[in-house]
Symmetry: C2
Subunit: 203 residues, 2 copies
């Protein structure tokens, strides 16, 4: 595949190869670069790259902890302040993997998630679902920026809450939403669950 590279260049390419495919064994790398296994091992040693099996283990560990974190976090973003039943503030650091590759604009559903789960969090009830939502994306958010979401319960009627959420980025409003959240306490039963086609007032 690749051959007659200087030591320096080879080590560079090995680094690249391994980062794109961490499952490559020394033997495979040796074939790719047309050098002996020992050379590859010397290179790894010099660069401090661990053996394939250890690389795979760290990969798997990181990955499984990531998945767990995603599942554990019933709330998206970090709850900063909460006044249960009234209002709350949460933040989210936007990252590259939340955005479109080509323009780094954060995908809308991440912003919605932040608003939606904050709205859920401030309601003092075990089971809360989103009923109706009106979202307004005002400005594009670029990955890397910090979002600050503020939510407030505007009105409450029986088991329905109208929550308004404002999300800011650098002190500029980038998103607002009004959400009707429905709390499903012990009283309500699932078979007859049905959200009224009620209109949102004052929107």
């Amino acid at each position: 595949m690749e051959k007659n590279l200087s030591k320096e260049k080879r080590q560079e390419r090995i680094k690249e190869k391994i980062s794109t495919n961490p499952f490559l064994s020394d033997e495979q790398l040796a074939k790719i670069f047309r050098v002996s296994i020992q050379t590859i091992r010397l290179d790894r040693l010099e660069m401090g790259i661990p053996e394939m099996r250890k690389r795979v283990i760290t990969l798997a560990r990181n990955a499984s902890s990531k998945v767990k974190a995603l599942n554990k976090n019933e709330i998206i973003g970090d709850l900063i302040d909460i006044d249960l039943g009234k209002s709350g503030i949460s933040t989210m650091h936007t990252t590259k993997d939340m955005a479109f590759g080509k323009n780094n604009i954060v995908r809308s559903h991440y912003i919605f998630s932040l608003a939606d789960s904050l709205a859920m969090a401030i309601i003092d009830s075990d089971v809360v679902l989103t009923g109706i939502a009106r979202l307004r994306y005002k400005k594009p958010v670029y990955s890397g920026q910090l979002l600050v979401a503020k939510a407030r319960i505007a009105t409450k009627k029986s088991n329905k809450y109208l929550v308004s959420v404002h999300i800011k980025c650098n002190h500029k409003e980038v998103f607002t939403a009004k959400l009707i959240m429905v709390s499903l306490e012990q009283k309500s039963n699932n078979s007859t669950f049905n959200i009224d086609n009620q209109k949102i007032k004052e929107f």
Copy 2:
């Protein structure tokens, strides 16, 4: 740790142990269950559980492909049919990790994502952003169910599209939305980007 279990119970427990911690080697398992390594290996053989190193490799592979898929897939769900500039259909298999642990109800933002990215997909433009959205969650969706989303461009005014999306589950409508999508073609420039506070008609 655990001892004097019947073969059947031990195998059950081994399965559990491995699923919670796939990094356990046969030696470690042997110590935990106070049996010989050979017994553990026989158990794995009978249950068809691969060796630790192979488990770790599949873990790492799945994990890295998951991350890549999430990043690569600009669209959430599977596009089934598309009539660019007019309409489209996509589906999504809901899984446990999309739902709340306690009641298996799929979180609202996954449903929104399906609708939003389908709306984005049917618009014949490179850069499309969500402007305003009205969402109506009609029935809770439980993990494991298949969602079918249909979207249609209702009206188009210059670079703004009104898209209606209907999501069904078992032929019952569980979600509807109207989205105003904004296409940012070469003409528009980012520094002056600003979505009008325009109202959605016929909602």
